[in-house]
Every structure is written in C-alpha cells, then in structure tokens.
C-alpha cells in the first residue's frame, strides 16, 4: 500500500493560523471536559467523603487494568441541558479493559446530584448498553444513584428508550450470553434495584450499598413499617438471606478487586476474523491535523490529509481515484485492522454516490469494516443532477450503506448537513460509534442559510400585513436566530443531546477508532445482503 504524499506545509502561514485557532478550540474543549469530569461543588465531595465513598473516576481506575486505555463516551452529555448542572449526565460510560477483557463500564456519578437519573442520564446508559449489545461487550455497572430525578420523571420513566430500556437491554445481554457484573456502591432503589438483580454477578459493599424496591421512607409511607437501610436491603441481608446479591465486600476497593476476579472468569470472545497487518504508526504526525483543519468550516480541504494522519503508515489504497472525486474511497489499516474509508471531498454527485454504493458493497463482500469521515454539505441539487437521478443514486448509496453487515464507524470531522449526514452513516444509521471533532457542525443546513430562509418567511409575512422592515429590523430578527442556530449546530449541542458518542480531539481519532473496531469484532459479521437498489 502506498503512502499518501502530504501537500501540507507545516511552516505556512495558513497552517499556523489554523493551528492557533484549533489550539484555542481544543483548549476550550479540554477545559469543559475537565470541568465536567472533575469539578464538583465542595459539599458534594464532602458528602461522598463522609459516606466513605470513592469518586467515580477513582472507582474506574481501581476497576480497569492498569496502563490500559479507556474510551469514554459522551463526556459532555447534558452540557447544555439542565442549566449545565448535571455534568456528563451524572454517569460515566466507556469501554475499557478489566482482566484483559473488553468491557463496557457504566458508572453512576454520585458526585452529581447524588447520581440521580435525569432523562439524559438514562439516554446515556441505554446507549452504552446498546453499544454493549451491538459489540457483545460484557458490562460492568457501578451503581450509586439516588434514583430517578422526580421532577423530570416523565422524561425518565415511560418511553421506549427510557429507564425501562436499561433493564430490557440487560435482559437482552443475558439472553445473548453476554455477562454483566454490578458493583453496588450506593443505593439501588426501585427500578434501579433491577440493575444488580439482572446482572449475572453482583457485589455489594457493606455499609454503603443497598438494594430495595422501596427504601425505608417509602416503606414507612406505604405500610407503616419502620426498618433500617441495612435490614431492608443491606449487604448482609442480600448476600445471606435473600440471595439477591452475590458477593459481600468490606469496602469499595475490595469490591472492585472482586469484580476484576469475576471478569477474569469470562470466556474470551471469539473475534470475527478480518484482514490485519502489522501495526505501524502514521507516517505523518496526527497533531498536524490541528493545522490542516481550516479555521472556517466552509473552507474545503483534502480529506486524504486527514486519512494520512489516522491510518497505519499513512498508507492508503485509493479506489476509483479518478471517478466521483468528491468522495474519496479506499482501503487502509487502523491499528492493524483493515478498513474501508469513505471521506468527503466536496458535494456528493451522482458519480460519487454510485462510487460509494459500489465501494460499500465491496467492503461488505470482503468483510471489511467501514469508516466514514463526514465533511459534507449534502448531495448536489439542480436540474442536471435530478435528471441524472441524483435521488435514486443517493438512494443506492443509502441502500448499500443501510444494508451493510460490516460494522460502521463515523467521525464527523467537518460539516454534516442535509441528506449527506444520512448517506455518510449519520446517527440514525447504526454506526457502532459516532464521534465528532470539536469544530464539527450538524444540521439540515448551515446556520446562515437557515437564518436567511426564516428571515425571508418572516419578512414576507410582515409585508402581507403591510409592514416593511428596515435593514436594522431584519438584523434584529436575524441575529438571535443565527445565534440559536449556531448553538444548535455545534458539536457541543449534539453531544449534549447524545446525538453522538462524544467529541474527540482529532489526534485521538486513531485510538478511538482502533478500540471501536477491536470491540466490533466480538460480533460475527453476517453474509452480505441488501434491499432492492433503484438502478
């Protein structure tokens, strides 16, 4: 495989400007992430301390194999929700290694509102369990939650992907023979009690862990019975009397050590075999991405420069290099795993869409996972293209992509607009994971375009009512719309709403993809099959 020849000059003014801009953006991103991870009100930390409970991040370090990576999902979930008072949606999820096994970790963050479940908490947990199901990953639940956040119960409780889905997914995992461990470090009340109960193995920490369908106050209210937490659902009761919990632990570190021991008993998954090659670091420094990604999202740049900084040895076998050039397709290796990459280099035309459909089929046939690098404003519009059947060519691409049996991975590296988001395997299309870069944007159309369209409508309405608007009036309407749109388009908004699995530092993309691909191979790849292509 040939090495991509980069045309980037790291000494150029443009590069340095881009780099400085990215430094600013990344700095902001890291600060936000740091804050979401570690900054807590003093009294919450004191409370944990008083309860002899560990901070969720420390729990993770006790659980995970030392010196191994952890791919955290959606660290900025709920960033814009609940006035920003629920960092990370009060739960930490991610893939890590425990006793050498790839596992999904779902850890309630009791330092945020006692670990109460907000609607986005539940969404994040359900998503993590979906990832576990899709990738057949054992799950380790670290339970420490005050329970559903009552004022928002309607967002937590009833819907298909609300809290019930957590337990439903647990059952599916069990049915699929994918083990789960629950470590009960705090209270598991009401529905939450089912998290340990539906786990194959559970550990409960003496003195702090408790499991009950109704806690002492509720019991008192319902039946008048007065009972202590320990007697109602404490460690010793459940491990000796009810059998609802399996392993008593004297303290949290011991509980995590037990969990590690349990995980060591898990059968190792039989991995789907795909093509691999010896691992090679990218020839070009991934940090050069900072200077490659333009300051202005609308400035076009060559996606090959991105590929060169993600793949092994910066080597890339480009498929149909002369055809449908607005979509770059080809094979490469990431951490040794062979992948088929589709990266946008402009608007999707008929030929680019057909090229995509063809290349996706090839990858399905030879069981090569797909990586989509989205930087797309959509499919080409206009008479020529409609006459050529842009819709049905786009539909071919969707049919091939939506019908794929190989795992798909999406990184939104720039814009993700219109049907391009769909064609390039957006959220609705079941990418195993979907990440965004900090400057990425996602929406039906760009903010400016949307704002203009809306202002047009408003102006026409006013005109109908006989009012003519001055430039200033129009600006006054436009500006707030623009601002609100820009927010809604931003990666931060997307990640807040869990439309993605998290924002990535571009230089982290290689590792994130490497881990995601490795995990995806726990599920066997079916034989290929498609729907009907509209030819």
């Amino acid at each position: 495989m040939r090495r991509i020849v980069s045309n980037i000059s790291t000494q150029s003014h443009e590069f340095k400007e881009n780099q400085a801009d990215m430094a600013r953006v990344l700095n902001e991103f890291r600060q936000l992430q740091q804050k979401a991870r570690y900054t807590r009100p003093e009294r919450d930390m004191q409370r944990l301390n008083k309860q002899k409970k560990l901070f969720v991040r420390d729990r993770l370090e006790l659980l995970l194999d030392p010196g191994t990576p952890f791919l955290e999902f959606s660290s900025l979930a709920a960033h814009y929700a609940y006035e920003g008072t629920v960092p990370g949606a009060a739960v930490v999820t991610g893939i890590g290694l425990v006793s050498g096994r790839e596992v999904m970790v779902i850890a309630g963050d009791a330092s945020v509102k006692g670990g109460a479940w907000y609607p986005l908490t539940v969404k994040k947990m359900v998503r993590a369990l979906d990832i576990a199901i899709e990738n057949r990953l054992p799950v380790i639940h670290i339970c420490d939650s005050a329970g559903g956040f009552l004022p928002l119960q309607s967002g937590v409780f009833p819907d298909r992907f609300a809290a019930g889905r957590i337990f439903r997914n647990q059952v599916q995992l069990s049915k699929m023979n994918i083990p789960q461990i629950a470590i009960v470090c705090g209270h598991c009340t009401a529905g939450g009690a089912y998290v340990p109960a539906l786990s194959d193995y559970n550990i409960i920490v003496r003195g702090t862990g408790a499991i009950f369908l109704g806690g002492p106050p509720l019991v008192k209210a319902a039946t008048g019975e007065v009972v202590t937490v320990e007697a109602l659902g404490g460690c010793d009761m459940h491990t000796t009397t009810s059998g609802t919990a399996d392993y008593p632990a004297d303290n949290e570190p011991q509980a995590f050590a037990i969990a590690r021991d349990i995980a060591a008993q898990f059968r190792k998954p039989k991995k789907q075999v795909i093509e691999t090659a010896p691992v090679e670091a990218p020839y070009y420094d991934p940090e050069e991405l900072y200077g490659i990604i333009p300051m202005d999202r609308k400035t076009q740049y060559d996606v090959r420069e991105v590929i060169a900084r993600i793949v092994d040895g910066s080597r890339f076998h480009e498929y149909q290099p002369a055809y449908g050039k607005t979509l770059v397709c080809g094979y490469a290796h990431i951490w040794g795993y062979k992948v088929g990459i589709l990266g946008n280099n402009g608007v999707l035309f008929n030929d680019s869409a057909k090229k995509a459909a063809h290349f996706i089929q090839l990858c399905n046939q030879n069981k090569t996972p797909l990586v989509f690098l989205q930087n797309i404003t959509g499919y080409m519009v206009g008479r020529t293209y409609e006459e050529e059947g842009i819709t049905k060519d786009g539909a071919k691409m969707l049919m091939a992509q939506g019908g794929s049996v190989v795992p798909k991975f999406t990184v939104i590296i720039g814009g993700s607009f219109g049907a391009g988001n769909y064609g390039m395997c957006g959220r609705a299309w079941d990418a195993r994971v979907l990440f965004m870069w900090p400057k990425a944007e996602i929406g039906v159309m760009g903010a400016e375009q949307a704002a203009n369209t809306l202002v047009d409508i408003k102006t026409r309405q006013m005109q109908k009512e006989g009012i003519t608007l001055s430039e200033k009036d129009i600006e006054a309407i436009r500006t707030p719309i623009m601002e609100s749109y820009e927010r809604d388009l931003s990666a931060y908004y997307s990640t807040s709403e869990l439309w993605d699995d998290g924002i990535l530092d571009p230089a982290d993309t290689r590792n994130a993809l490497g881990m995601s691909i490795a995990c995806s191979l726990n599920a066997q790849i079916d034989d290929q099959s498609y729907g009907v292509f509209r030819f």
Partner: protein, 167 residues
C-alpha cells in the same frame, strides 16, 4: 499490569505491559524498554533500554530471588489487587452468627466479653447428624451467647453475636 516489588524496606510500584511485541516497565514516571532472554535454566540476559545484564533468577510463591552484578537480592512480589482483596468477605465481618439450620448445641466455647480472633471456635452445634463448628468471622469481642450446651435452636437463630466494630 501492576506489581508492588518490595526490596528490604523499600517498595516499588511498577507497571508492566507488552505492546507490539515489546515489554515496557513503568517505574515512577520513567518507562523502560525491557526484555528477558532465558539462556539456561533460571539464567537470563536482561535488557533494559538496550543495556544488558546477566541474571540468575529463582522464584517461589512470595519472592523472586535474583543474582545479578555479583549479588543476590530478594524481591517480594505483591499483586495490588490481591492485596486489596484480602479476605473474600464471604464470611463477612458481620457481627451475627446465625444458625445455618435447626439443631442442638454440643458445646459453647466462648463467653460474653471474651476477646476472640478470626477463626476461633465459638460453639459446636449438631444437626442433620453432623457436628459443625461455629467460628468467629473476624476478630472481636463476644457480645452475647444465646444458647447453652444441650439447647436446641431453629434455623437462623442468633447463636452468638460479636460487638459491633468501631468505625
């Protein structure tokens, strides 16, 4: 994976990993590229960042003995996770010893106020034609003994209780 290596009174936390065929050892904030080549039974060439030493190594359950650079050093190996595990907690540090099944007390081997160690026999009971010893699950002071020899008891009867542990 981590180990705590103890040499004399000094303790060293190390982290070993193997990436792309190469072992790396993290010691403090330094990372060493290391390798061992067994050249004879218990005899090795050890490479650290490209430098070489010959070493004789013998290992038993607890220690590693290394003869290198003309001297022998004993290194105690501690798996931090096993260290945390300690007891399995199964018997718990619980305070109440409940009868596992109905039966008769054969003998009482402790009295209230007595200091007992983990594993001390507190009572011998008989049921289902089997004699079972009731042992102290942890160190502590006997709080209450609820039966005398010859007494019968029901399942889950509180046989002996220990004073609660100080927080």
């Amino acid at each position: 994976m981590k180990r705590e290596f103890v040499i004399g009174s000094e303790s060293y936390d190390v982290l070993l990993n193997k990436a792309l065929g190469e072992y790396h050892l993290d010691v403090g904030d330094r990372q060493l590229a290391i390798q061992a080549e067994e050249i004879g039974s218990g005899e090795y060439f050890i490479y650290v960042d490209g430098r070489k030493q010959r070493a004789f190594v013998a290992v038993d359950d607890e220690n590693t003995y290394i003869h290198m650079e003309g001297k022998a050093v004993t290194i105690q190996r501690i798996d931090p996770f096993e260290k945390i595990m300690g007891g399995d907690g199964a018997d718990g540090s619980g305070s109440s010893l409940l009868a596992p099944m109905p039966g008769t007390v054969i003998s009482v081997n402790c009295e209230p106020g007595q200091q007992v160690s983990e594993g001390d026999v507190l009572m011998v009971i008989e049921s289902m034609k089997l004699e079972t010893t009731v042992a102290a699950p942890r160190e502590g002071i006997v709080e209450q003994v609820n039966f005398s020899a010859g007494d019968t008891f029901d399942q889950k009867a509180l046989l002996v209780s220990l004073q609660a542990e100080e927080e």
